[in-house]
Amino acid sequence: MMNDRFSAQLRQQLLNTADERPAQDQLAAIVAQVAITPQRRPLVARLPGLQGRVAPFPAVVRFGLIAVALVLAALAGAILAGGGPTPPTTPFEGTWTSIDPLDGSKQWLFVGPGNTPEVRYEDEWATGGACIDDEVKHFIAVGSGEITGPRLDVSFHDGGGCGLMTVAVPVLYYVHDPDTDTLVDYAANTSRPDPEVVAGHMSALWSRVTFGTRPATQPPATQPPATQPSATEPPAAEPTPGQTPADPTAGADCVDLAQGGTYTGPVGPLTVTATVPETPTIPWQGLRDVFNLSGRCGSVAPIGFFASTATTVLADSCMPDSPAIASFVDAVARLDTPTGDGISERVDLTISGHPAARYDISNLSTCEGFGLWGGTILGPGETGSIYVIDVDGVLMAVELNRDGSQTQAELEEAWAIIASLQIAR
């Protein structure tokens, strides 16, 4: 009874006091702003933060997404096991990655063999309307491609989405630059016989992660385009471990460092090499496609490093909003801002001759995420460290994520690995 009366009072209060008169000229101001604001392209139209905190993903989710990529890599590995690396049938075949120009998330493109390849597009952090209700905003669209010279047109007939909803995906085409071995994507207007670039489309630059592979039994392409890379061309972008895997169970996805050695992985425009001491206390394994060094291949558990470079940086370290900054000074200032239980003071360091800072987090409870951008961040309840490094103007971050069970020796080993990092551009 009290509740009913109270509810009525509260509702009446709000209705009585609601001021629905727009501020003077506000409507005109909005209309004027809209007049000069372009809309985003449909595929990646962004609705940032609609789940309260779209990013950062908890580490478990993030590495779950990596696991998805690993499944794909495993398929490639199985093919490799059958016949060893083989040249791609087209310049498009292989795995490509790019940074979404709109929100800084990482995108993947998997292009199959042949002149009408299957194409799979993935966005690791899709903040678009397609994923408005999805907890895990990993957008996937599978399409069919058609290659004409240096151009790959892809139609995603079944649309794409993050699981809960499927949305139409516009026809895209990718143009290959043989000089740089990169792709640029464009949206095509299919209502015209000769597709043209849709105004307002923000193209992404795609760099190659791996060359294509195909079973040895598959006949080679009969008429490869003139721009096809040489069969002897090395897989330039693939990280080269300093040590041959000693443990065959590590498989094709990870470099086994259980006996120590060096591990090299790409971090944006940088190449980062870590040295693992001989007979380490942790059986380290390093992912080949991204810089991820952990106690279990492709996992964050029980301890693992993950590195990335600045793309879109959060407005402050507790909030996933994103005015872009890329300066070390700004990054440190923002990470210095939140204080509270579980967030240490900044520790100033030098890593690979570059200025760096470390923040130690213990069972984070102060805010919903501590870090700088979606890929490198600690979430509630997580323990670890965030490092930021100024690599001659390129802002790089390393997340050390751990479950808190490590011995002092294991922690010192992890810190020694961080201290050993060599970073090259």
Binding site: Q13, L14, V31, V34, R40, R41, P42
Partner: protein
Amino acid sequence: MRELVIRARGGDRDAFSELVARSIGRLTAMARMILRDEYAAQDAVQEAYIEAWRSLPGLREPDRFEAWLRRLLVRACFKGIRRSKRVEAVEIHLTPAHELAIPGGERNLAIHDQLERGLARIPADQRAVVVLVYYLDLPLADAAQAMGIPLGTTKSRLNRATQALRAAIEADDRTPSRVGERLA
């Protein structure tokens, strides 16, 4: 409405302007109630609309436009609060008592004041849930969606908010009786 959304989604600015004109009153009121700061509310409303315009091509279901816009507004409100670091130290904007035309005389006026003070005191996230549920009359599930938080969290926020507000009224209930005793 649906037709306007479809046209706006296709880049029709006039259609979008019409959508803004139709919804700006309600959104402004929401922002004022959540933020209790006139300028911050104006900023949040503008930010929500601009984000809506930019992202509209990604809205698959035109019928969800209003719910989607609410989410953008709630998000813009929280962004504004975080930006200004005024989560608790919000400017209290009380409607002047003489402007009210509440039936029921002094008793209702007292409740009004207590609720206003209570609403000003509770955190913005709780206030937002109250606004969504009691002002917009949204089901809890829709309020949770607008807030971008789980249903359970929404319930607990609403529960905490209403407890605080009820306590304010109950305190008010006790005060007149004591005064009455003294007068008697």
